[in-house]
């Protein structure tokens, strides 16, 4: 009962500050402070000491560094003709697929997910490149933003993935196996998204612009030529990871340098371009990372209040059968997802939920994939959903608009979880095939 009150009160603080229109990153810090002060009874100097310690640790962490670099890379693509070329190049090829260029969001995020281990980086980078182009071409904003919110979180499921590494270390599972296990579920989710886009746009054709006239062979050749710059960029970045030249965390820097080199070769590089892309990248990165930093502080506060541990303990005492456990755990994770970010959800609940899951007979690798999916869902649920914040920032739409746009894709992820539960081999087949 106590735990429920504490959780409800924390959520009330959150809604209060966010509702007043206090900046999100300030709101999160205020919620943490208020929760520790009123609910835990700490004095201000102890709270301050915790805040400074955690904020220093998190704001100077290597893990955070890939985000601004990837965003800078996206900014260079955005401000050169690489992005316009991408859409020109893809147009003729997607003409016969319902939904046409809307699939660039899903495809782009899926591809980018293979480079980046974090979800805000994927959403911000791909979103910066696609939202304006799609909107300018007359594609439906809501479908475009929703698919971005959903597909942006694939960064966690498709390797490399920061959350999976954290899970692997804590659960003492092989990270290579976990990475392999994420591939098929990731592709399944992106197939679900693409299927949904096809269905929606077939039912309401007004969501996409009118089709262009017939094309000839030359159009296709020109289109392929237009795709070259981005293809080169993706090949180099992916190649640097899969040959081991760069670690996944370093690939972002490779991406920036390659993008600058492409701008140089295509004669678009100028001091103005560097300045504009840098300042643009700074603004998006600061917007994203400031929230991530104070969210870490709020997670710490919630950890001090023992909310996740107590609830997980409560679940343990129910002695549920495997299916019941899975349903209750899913509800628990969805609830945590309202106000926590990905990694925190995993680290705070795992010491209790993992033994429970293992006892109930779930495979630890499967459970890792399941957890990552739950974390992905947390990225698109309000009030604290990072993909929603990122998309609000780059589209200028309100958070409620973005959240509603993301809802169908949230439901599709839920469907993905059900499929994964019914057919565990979706996750386990590939690692078993690769590693025996």
């Amino acid at each position: 009962m106590d735990t429920l009150f504490t959780a409800a009160a924390t959520l009330a603080f959150l809604l209060f500050f966010l509702g007043l229109g206090v900046w999100v990153f300030i709101s999160l810090a205020l919620v943490a402070t208020a929760a520790l002060f009123f609910l835990h009874g700490m004095d201000l100097s102890r709270i301050g000491s915790i805040a400074a310690g955690i904020i220093y640790r998190y704001s100077t962490s290597w893990e955070l560094s890939a985000i601004p670099m990837f965003i800078w890379m996206g900014e260079i693509i955005f401000r050169t003709d690489i992005s316009a070329r991408l859409f020109r190049g893809l147009s003729p090829f997607v003409d016969y697929i319902p939904g046409r260029l809307l699939h660039t969001n899903v495809l782009g995020c899926t591809l980018f997910a293979a480079v980046s281990g974090s979800s805000p980086a994927t959403t911000a980078t791909v979103g910066r490149i696609t939202t304006r182009e799609l909107s300018a071409r007359g594609y439906d904003d809501r479908l475009s933003l929703g698919s971005l919110a959903g597909a942006g979180s694939l960064g966690l499921l498709i390797p490399p993935s920061i959350v999976m590494i954290v899970y692997g270390i804590l659960a003492e599972q092989s990270i290579s196996r976990l990475f392999a296990a994420g591939v098929l579920p990731g592709l399944m989710i992106s197939a679900l998204y693409s299927g949904y886009i096809m269905l929606r746009t077939t039912l309401s054709p007004a969501l996409v612009p009118a089709k262009r006239e017939a094309r000839n062979a030359l159009d296709f050749l020109r289109a392929i030529w237009d795709l070259v710059p981005l293809a080169v960029l993706m090949t180099i970045v992916l190649g640097s990871i899969y040959t081991g030249i760069a670690t996944p965390s370093e690939a972002a820097a490779v991406g920036v340098i390659t993008a600058i080199a492409i701008a140089l070769v295509t004669r678009q590089l100028s001091l103005a371009l560097l300045r504009d892309t840098l300042m643009g990248a700074l603004r998006t990165s600061c917007m994203v990372c400031s929230i991530l930093i104070t969210a870490a502080f709020m997670s710490t506060a919630i950890g001090y209040l023992h909310i996740p541990a107590d609830v997980a303990d409560g679940i343990a005492s129910l002695h549920l059968p495997p299916w019941g456990l899975l349903v209750v755990l899913s509800l628990f994770y969805l609830g945590l997802g309202f106000f926590l970010d990905g990694t925190s959800i995993v680290v705070m609940s795992l010491p209790i939920s993992l033994p429970l899951a293992l006892q109930a007979g779930f495979d630890p690798i499967w459970f890792g994939v399941y957890l990552v999916l739950m974390v992905e869902m947390a990225q698109v649920t309000p009030p604290v959903g990072f993909n929603l914040f990122v998309l609000q920032g780059i589209s200028g739409r309100s958070i409620s608009y973005v959240a509603r746009a993301a809802l169908p894709f949230f439901v599709l992820m839920l469907l993905g979880v059900v499929l994964l539960a019914v057919f565990p081999d979706i996750a386990l087949w590939l690692p078993n095939f690769l590693y025996g």
């Binding site: 900046w23 603004r283 400031s290 958070i399």
Partner: protein, 174 residues
């Protein structure tokens, strides 16, 4: 008053330029590290540490600049339904709260800086960087943001226009 606002913004912009340099530095250090590792079988041995310092500066030092450009996210659910003046006052209150919060946090960092200085604490890498330097950098960044937030709040009470050029990050084509 106008002079105060434009001076504070100039300071925020200067801090943002330094933050941008930190971003350039991050990319350069990683590139250098990759070259050392691939071709010379050696390393700087301080990559994650130094890139860590840079990302801290990159984010914290640009806060004021980004705030004045209106890029920091807030939820408009209630705000958008209020009359203009009420919106301004609510923004002012939020900004002053943000100012108080970062002053408090900067003070907590000052305690850390002073202790690291007197104890001679260094990072446990080959570089043995005195930890008061990066902690001090975060403290200064928080101070700059506190000042920017204060000016932002005051500006919304007096109804003074923003000193930042109007260049929205989001460029929706309507």
């Amino acid at each position: 008053m106008a002079r105060f606002y434009s001076n504070v913004f100039a300071l925020s912009r200067l801090a943002a330029v330094i933050a941008a340099c930190a971003l350039v530095y991050m990319v350069s250090h990683i590139a250098y590290e990759i070259i050392l590792r691939s071709f010379f079988a050696t390393s700087t041995f301080v990559l994650d540490e130094f890139v860590g310092y840079a990302i801290g500066i990159c984010i914290i030092w640009s806060l004021g600049y980004v705030l004045e450009h209106g890029d920091l996210i807030r939820v408009g659910l209630v705000l958008d339904r209020l009359p203009e003046r009420a919106q301004q006052l609510l923004t002012a209150v939020s900004a002053l709260v943000a100012c108080a919060l970062s002053v408090g946090l900067a003070w907590m960092f000052w305690i850390r800086v002073a202790r690291a200085w007197s104890r001679g604490t260094v990072s446990s890498s080959v570089a043995a960087v005195p930890t008061w330097i990066p902690e001090g950098a975060i403290m200064v960044g928080l101070g700059v943001f506190a000042l920017a937030a204060f000016a932002h709040g005051l500006r919304h009470i007096t109804g003074h226009p923003s000193p930042a050029p109007h260049t929205p990050l989001a460029t929706p084509v309507e």
